[in-house]
Amino acid sequence: MTFLAELAINGALVGLMYALVASGIVLVYKSSGVVNLAQGGFVMAGAYLVWAYIARLGLGLIPGILAAAASMGALGWLTERLALRRMIGQPVIMILMLTFGLEVVLRGAVPGALGADTKPMPIPISQAPVWLGDILINRTYILGGAVAVVMVALLAVFFRTRAGIAMRAVSDDHLAAWAVGIPVERTVALSWAVSGAVAAVTGVLWGAVQGVDWSLSLLLIKALSVAVLGGLDSLSGVVLAGLIVGVFESVISGYVDPFVGGGTREVVAAVVIFLTVLIRPYGLFGREVIERV
């Protein structure tokens, strides 16, 4: 039982961290209907920047993270400004491919400039375990899960602000938003900037878990799964989806692995996605017929 609980709790926390990556995707999707395949690259770049600001420039931890978040926000804004805005009206698959191209650029530019070898994320989290009775919980995950919840909550609050409401309006209907005087382009750019900043924070957490190198960009796949499962345009959906994916992966692989003698983790996630799509085609909380293919 404790085994199950431990798997479930750790899984849930990891799932929340997935959800944090996915929230960056959702944010952009909500405002512009674009799925950003470069979100993994953003996370990696964010982590690299945090590392560089702290280890190379000697900034403190918090200033380093803030500076990185600001830089990533600028990068997100520039991405929208220079690339995505020119693709308005193109088929979804083209825009997907464009963001994929960005991902490739980031994966080359960032490690190429800052060094490809794995770097430690200089945040002081003790490796000592947190014991909850017999249950062991990873401190980084606790922090990660907490940050994820806070960030998603902040984002939810953000959507109640003026800019946030504008963003929701834009997500509903570009033209109508335009008609009532909402600066659609600026709003979309803002969502990219926020998503960039979120990626920086995500990068810190995941960098602390696995070290900083190019493989952070691989988080994209997991984040994409979570986002789709959640329904792509729902923040609460993303949180729930993250929890589901995290818990299922953890629990099922915990019980099944010994029998099949292999890591079933990814397959479990894949099966979850596959079944969801078959049963609930638009994710858990997604609006129906929102795809624009």
């Binding site: 000592a128 070290g211 953890s250």
Partner: protein, 416 residues
């Protein structure tokens, strides 16, 4: 804007296309190092290649071997087989006769070609473990303990640490879920039958940056020893999970892929006690490394990479993986005379005997049957700042290893 992009494209592609293979010069032996700089082997490629190239540079600075100097071609393959094949075909036409891809998928994909073309393919610590079988794979050379040998050496160390009796002990294998990660399983199963320990494997999927569920299972197994079988970022994650789960680190033994940087990511102090398999002596004390530092870096300024890398774990692996070839060239000139051809080098490689580069690596003896060279290695331990050897060079359970080798190579021959 539009034109600018077109021109860049045209220029770069044209330059790539126009890169005409230069004819090999006289009395030069060319190595091909199409390695994975950008993907899975990022963690090792830079230092390893640097070690290989710096050693060859040193040889050149010292006037070459038997009148022969060395040349090399380096390119990134991104761990993609088709890019590896392209680089192989290109470098081969540029005169390269000895290859090291530092990538298992690429090495394995190129192996059939190399054997057809008669080109030496080095596979130290990657590629096919059964390349040890020189009869089946005349052109492939492991030149170092393959993963089966590494597993036996580690078990031998555990056996010694436990006072020669493993009956009733539990040994777990935490491995990445890939062919590489699963490779030691049959050996460990065989050894568990022989030595009476209980064995269980725990897989985590690639890229292995999230192992909490795996380690929860490990904890349930309550192992006495854990073998860590992965590479790259997942290694530090694994060590961390071990720490968190309260597993004693001096009972955690890693495959060869664990180095100083991994320890720093975990936290150099926190990681104290972790053990690993070692196939070359890290550090800058060894005379050869000293010589490289002095001649290649300080005097000639021809170092291939960052000077900080010199003497790192993977750097010395690099030296150890070309040194026997250089030795073979020396033997070829001595025994077969000029001109030295790839066939002669191959034959000479099989005559390399008890070569240990003044103690930088375990003594290696290659025969036409044994392309692994004895499968020796040692266990070292992280003392918080550096790796300290805890055993001598050794090999163990050779019969188990060879059984695996022959089984696997037989399978290969079947498909031929």
């Amino acid at each position: 804007m539009r034109r600018w992009v077109y021109w860049v494209l045209v220029l770069v592609l044209a330059a790539g296309l126009a890169a005409v293979p230069a004819l090999a010069q006289q009395k030069v032996i060319t190595f091909g190092f199409p390695v994975d700089y950008t993907r899975v082997y990022v963690f090792v490629a830079e230092e390893w290649t640097q070690g290989m190239v710096d050693y060859l540079t040193l040889m050149n600075l010292k006037g070459g071997v038997g009148g022969y100097t060395f040349d090399w071609r380096v390119v990134d393959t991104g761990n993609e087989p088709q890019r590896g094949i392209e680089a192989y075909e290109r470098f081969r036409r540029e005169g390269a006769t000895i290859f090291n891809f530092i990538s298992t998928p690429v090495s394995n994909a190129v192996a059939p070609r190399a054997m057809e073309d008669g080109v030496i393919l080095l596979m130290p610590f990657h590629g096919r473990s059964d390349a040890a079988d020189g009869q089946t794979f005349p052109w492939l050379f492991s030149l170092g303990a393959n993963y089966w040998s590494q597993a036996t050496v580690i078990v031998q160390h555990i056996l010694e640490a436990e006072g020669g009796n493993l009956r009733g002990k539990r040994i777990g294998l935490v491995h990445i879920d890939s062919p590489f990660g699963r490779e030691p399983i049959p050996v460990l199963e065989e050894l568990s039958r022989r030595l009476g320990f209980e064995f269980q494997s725990f897989a985590f999927p690639s890229p292995g940056t999230e192992q909490s569920a795996t380690w929860a299972q490990v904890r349930r197994f309550r192992p006495d020893w854990v073998l860590l079988w992965s590479a790259g970022p997942s290694q530090s994650v694994g060590v961390r999970e071990a720490i968190r789960n309260g597993f004693p680190l001096d009972r955690l033994v890693s495959v060869i892929w664990l180095d100083e940087k991994d320890m720093n990511i975990v936290g150099a102090a926190q990681a104290r006690g972790v053990k690993r398999f070692e196939a070359a002596v890290p550090g800058r004390e060894h005379p050869v490394v000293q010589e490289i530092l002095q001649k290649v870096y300080q005097e000639a300024g021809k170092g291939f990479g960052k000077i900080e890398n010199v003497g790192s774990t993977y750097y010395v692996v690099g030296i150890a993986s070309v040194a026997p070839v250089v030795e073979a060239v020396r033997i070829a000139v001595e025994r077969f005379g000029e001109p030295v051809t790839v066939d002669k080098i191959r034959a000479a490689l099989e005559m390399v005997s008890n070569f240990d580069l003044n103690g930088l690596m375990p003594p290696i003896t290659i025969t036409p049957q044994d392309h692994e060279g004895g499968g020796m290695g040692r266990i070292s331990q992280w003392d918080g700042s550096r790796w300290v050897p805890v055993t001598d060079w050794m090999s163990a359970f050779r019969d188990v290893v060879w059984e695996m080798v022959y089984k696997s190579s037989a399978q290969f021959r079947q498909g031929q």
